[in-house]
């Protein structure tokens, strides 16, 4: 059972994605702990283009001969990149790997008017899907979230995206301070009217070392209580389901066939290369599956890449246990669930039948006719506990 690990179990090929991180934002949002930096001088994008290309070359040496199925330009705020920068990055990818004809290329955008003006340029550069961070549909909350755009501006950006791209999505953050089931349900209905094929709906997370955390600890930011937060989640499922945007992942909703393929690579525990400051990757090399993390500070990253051809600061050969854990953490977020045989192939052990039976009896987990294990709608709100239970 614990034999040598083969490079990617062929029958489980979950695709290969490339993630590119653009680490700059116009302003730092008080809830955000993503790797984003505000620079008061203009960023010299050419330096970054060169560094991205060098780092990609390094990644392609680690993971050669892959066919790229998906590309994601995330951030930070990638919509601050010039379309020419985006074009150069995409060229870089194509120069290092073979790219599938139906490749999905997503760019994350902030919905300000300035950024929307660049949408066309992105389209020409090769982007075919746009994901906008709208976060809220009322101006008071947008302000409280530290966002620099208004609802009108965001709606304008959505309209622009709709006129340019076949595929677009936007993100909202809910379970915000003072939010009630009624107010959220009204807001969500409004969102669905503007949505096309895909929505990401995240519950507000209070992250360490953010201004929101300070306020929260000081008792100045009060979140909906556990029961309300549960009701908010339940109603979200219900409304989206009714409007033909069923959830396919714990926080993501899409029409059948319009799922974000790039994120599916993560969740199906496929292979992905991460490029740019703070990016993460999982590659299967001769030695087995390894986790890569890149230096987060943009200027340091430039230096490292100039020196070594890459900015990798952590490289961890994942143990069988770690692989099993990551597979569960990612896979159980999906409505399609996981294949227990693949868990065994990755971790070298079987899931505990007794625990599965217990979870099934509690209706938190179910077993599909194909033998997949998936978390139920009752299970999703307590996913952390379910995963811990299965992983332990």
């Amino acid at each position: 059972m614990l034999g040598k690990l083969k490079p990617v179990e062929p029958t489980y090929d979950a695709g290969f994605g490339v993630y590119v991180h653009w680490p700059f934002c116009q302003a730092k949002c008080p809830y955000c702990d993503f790797n984003s930096h505000v620079r008061h001088v203009k960023v010299n994008q050419q330096l970054y283009i060169d560094a991205f290309q060098r780092e990609m070359k390094h990644m392609a040496e680690l993971a050669p001969n892959r066919v790229v199925n998906t590309i994601f330009l995330g951030g930070g705020t990638p919509s601050l990149m010039d379309p020419a920068t985006v074009a150069a990055v995409l060229d870089g990818i194509a120069g290092n790997w073979q790219v599938a004809p139906d490749v999905e290329v997503t760019l994350e955008a902030n919905p300000t008017s300035v950024e929307a003006e660049r949408f066309k340029g992105y389209r020409l550069a090769g982007v075919n899907r746009i994901s906008m961070g709208i976060q809220a549909l009322n101006n008071t909350d947008l302000k409280a979230l530290g966002r620099t755009h208004s609802v009108d501006e965001a709606m304008q950006a959505v309209a622009t995206a709709a006129s340019i791209f076949d595929r677009y999505s936007f993100d909202l953050i809910y379970a915000r301070p003072n939010q009630t089931v009624e107010s959220w349900s009204a807001e969500l209905h409004m969102a669905i009217e503007r949505a096309a094929e895909h929505l990401s709906l995240y519950q507000l997370t209070i992250e360490d070392e953010t201004p929101f955390k300070k306020l929260y600890t000081a008792g100045k930011l009060i979140l909906p209580d556990e029961e309300t937060s549960r009701q908010l989640y339940d109603i979200t499922q219900e409304i989206c389901e009714k409007h033909n945007l069923p959830s396919y992942e714990i926080s993501n909703y899409a029409r059948k066939g319009s799922e974000c393929r790039h994120n599916m690579v993560y969740w199906r525990y496929g292979e992905y290369a991460g490029v740019g400051p703070g990016a993460h990757g999982r590659l299967v090399t001769q030695k087995g599956r390894a986790a890569f993390a890149i230096e987060k500070n943009p200027e340091k990253w430039l230096e490292y890449v100039a020196q070594d051809g890459h900015g990798i600061v952590e490289e961890e050969q994942l143990s069988l246990e770690a692989q099993g854990d990551e597979f569960l953490l990612m896979g159980l977020r999906l409505v399609e669930g996981i294949d227990p045989k693949r868990f065994t192939a990755l971790s070298g052990r079987r899931l505990d039948d007794e625990r599965i039976t217990d979870l099934v009896n509690e209706r938190l987990v179910e077993i599909t006719s194909e033998g997949r294990i998936r978390v139920t709608l009752t299970g999703f709100p307590v996913l952390d506990a379910v995963v811990a239970d299965l992983a332990a």
Binding site: Y202, H280, E326
Partner: protein
């Protein structure tokens, strides 16, 4: 150091209720006499263990020798002993008292006289001490020195007219304290030409020097190279070094009558020394031994088990090392069906238990489960066997039991009259039998016989709360008496949790069971499912509660491809789950075990 005449020595203990500022006052005394430079000074500098610093309490008594040039122009040696205020460590106070002629009684001028103030004053008077009273914390707006003076006179019956108002925090009037010590406390007496007679006050283990013995010289002198004999254990050692603490360790050639200092003598283990023993010169022994101390007896027992069975040997080693420094803690191996191999340990009280547990998990990085505290029961079996039951989980089938005997104590409680009613009620509720009620000045003195099992959990806390802290409590173990005791089992998710079972009196079983259920309901975090919590005697359920199911534990924001961070969180959760296996499907946090038993009704 030049020798100083015995008339110029003053030995005193600083005693007080917990937190009244003994250690802070010690800081000021050390600072003012120049024992440490400003740079070396820290807050409560004598509280050297991490756990003391963190909790801000003293656990171990400490001795310091200070040089003080008094207003009369003479230089005095002051031997200061800072003592713990908490009742669990009262034995540390009595040792210190035996090594001194005087006490510095510290009373918080805003809180006034409290339980341990009384208890410690009476111990000091028993030791024939002169007492200098100081009223501390007069810098606080709530300080009422005049009222507290009156209270000291009324409640304790001490003359408080010369009590010194001070602030140990700001340093106000510290010089006056030093003068009072010099002028009002007696000097020790002793005969330097007589054979050596020294009191073994304390001993502890030092990683570099081995066992260090704290001694008080009564007669004669102790020198480097001298062959000494411990009269109680009949062992002889050659003194390697002797000296004093300033509080730094300073070697000296000789210690003379009245002095307090240390010796080292290649002693391997603290267990080789007996606190209270008399040290004399091997070839010229003194005629009579000192009275010595009552041995300390553990009164509370509980099981400590490693969460991970693989840690058992580590736990054994850690306990051995901890005992090197804390002889009042005892342990022996035990095994339990639910918890595997572990140790049954004896403690001086609940705080002591908590501290040992914390030191084990912190200093030795061990994850432990502690079971319900209990006492030792003697069980007479139908077949004539006698069983000493340390652990309720091992209780034999009641069918085979002839009689269960439990330890009883005789408690002496001093309380202001106004709280007498509540104190009596508390003792009655705990199956107490009143032996005597009398008055000492304006205070009532009640003597009660009580089953120890009713006292180990939360009796101190209750007594304190019903008397607003004024009642003082002291006890001795008296005898074993038969009792109608039953085993109360706790079931979590329908599975019995050994570690929470206890023996209780039949008449109290139901209410205890109910409170336990209510407590556990709040202490067990919500799980993915509803958890019934039940109390049972034999097969009969006598109380029941439920822990509601968790409704939501994720916000599931996007992490992109960064799953490493989530994995680290999962690692922590998995650890909890490992422990949870031991209780079926439910994770009972370690804190719950002690907290569940620290309840009031």
């Amino acid at each position: 150091m030049t020798t100083i005449p015995i008339e110029n020595i003053r030995n005193f203990s600083i005693v007080a209720h917990i937190d009244h500022g003994k250690s802070t006052l010690a800081d000021r005394l050390i600072q003012l006499t120049g024992g440490l430079s400003a740079r070396e000074m820290t807050e409560q500098v004598l509280d050297s263990m991490d756990i003391e610093k963190e909790r801000g309490i003293t656990i171990k008594a400490q001795t310091v020798r200070l040089n003080y040039k008094a207003h009369d122009g003479k230089t005095y040696i002051l031997n200061l002993m800072d003592t713990p205020g908490h009742v669990d460590f009262a034995y540390e106070v009595s040792r210190s008292l035996a090594a001194c002629e005087g006490s510095l009684l510290v009373v918080d001028a805003s809180q006034g006289v409290e339980a341990q103030t009384l208890a410690n004053v009476y111990h000091a008077l028993d030791a024939s001490h002169e007492i200098v009273t100081v009223l501390n914390k007069v810098d606080l707006p709530a300080a009422e020195p005049e009222r507290v003076k009156q209270q000291i006179e009324d409640v304790i019956g001490l003359d408080a007219s010369e009590a010194v108002p001070i602030s140990a925090k700001t340093g106000l009037n510290i010089e006056a304290v030093l003068e009072a010590i010099v002028t009002r406390l007696p000097s020790p007496k002793g005969d330097v030409s007589a054979p050596l007679k020294a009191l073994l006050v304390d001993s502890w283990y030092d990683a570099y020097l081995g066992v260090i013995v704290l001694v008080r010289i009564i007669d004669g002198q102790i020198k480097k190279g001298m062959k000494v004999k411990m009269m109680g254990t009949d062992a002889t050692y050659e003194v390697e070094r002797c000296g004093v603490f300033t509080p730094k360790m300073v070697n000296m050639d000789v210690l003379t009558p009245g002095e307090v200092g240390f010796i080292t003598a290649s002693i391997k283990e603290v267990a080789d020394t007996r606190v209270g023993d008399t040290i004399t010169e091997d070839k010229k022994p003194c005629a009579q031994m000192l009275a010595g101390f009552k041995p300390v007896q553990p009164v509370v027992f509980c099981g400590l088990f490693p969460v991970d069975a693989a840690d058992f040997e580590d736990l054994r080693a850690a306990m051995g090392r901890l005992r090197l420094n804390d002889a009042s803690f005892s342990f022996e191996m035990e095994s339990s069906a639910a918890l595997g191999f572990g140790f049954r340990c004896g403690f001086l009280g609940l705080l002591h238990l908590e501290i040992v547990q914390e030191r084990l998990s912190r200093e030795f990085d061990l994850n432990l489960i502690a079971t319900a505290p209990s006492v030792v029961y003697d069980i007479k079996m139908r077949n004539g066997d006698l069983v000493h039951l340390h652990n309720p989980a091992d209780m034999p089938d009641p069918m085979h039991i002839e009689e269960i005997n439990e330890p009883w104590i005789r408690a002496t409680i001093l309380t202001p009259d106004e709280y007498l009613g509540s104190v009596i009620k508390l003792c009655q509720d705990r199956r107490g039998e009143q032996i005597d009620l009398s008055y000492v000045g304006s205070r009532a003195k009640v003597i009660y016989d009580l089953p120890l099992n009713e006292v180990v959990f939360d009796f101190y806390d209750r007594l304190k709360s019903v008397s607003k802290g004024y009642a003082s409590f002291d006890y001795v173990i008296r005898e074993y008496r038969p009792g109608d005791l039953v085993k109360l089992s706790m079931l979590v998710n329908a599975e019995p949790v050994d570690a929470l079972s206890m023996l209780v009196h039949r008449t109290r079983a139901e209410s205890r069971g109910r409170t336990m259920c209510e407590k556990l309901k709040d202490l067990i975090p919500p799980h993915m499912f509803v958890i019934p919590v039940q109390a049972a005697i034999g097969g009969k359920i006598i109380a029941r509660e439920t822990v509601r199911a968790m409704r939501k534990d994720v916000t599931a924001k996007c992490y992109g491809g960064d799953v490493s961070r989530k994995r680290k969180l999962l690692d922590k959760q998995k650890e909890g789950k490992k422990r949870m296996r031991q209780f079926g499907k439910v994770e009972i946090p370690q804190e719950a075990f002690i907290a569940a038993l620290k309840m009031d009704n």
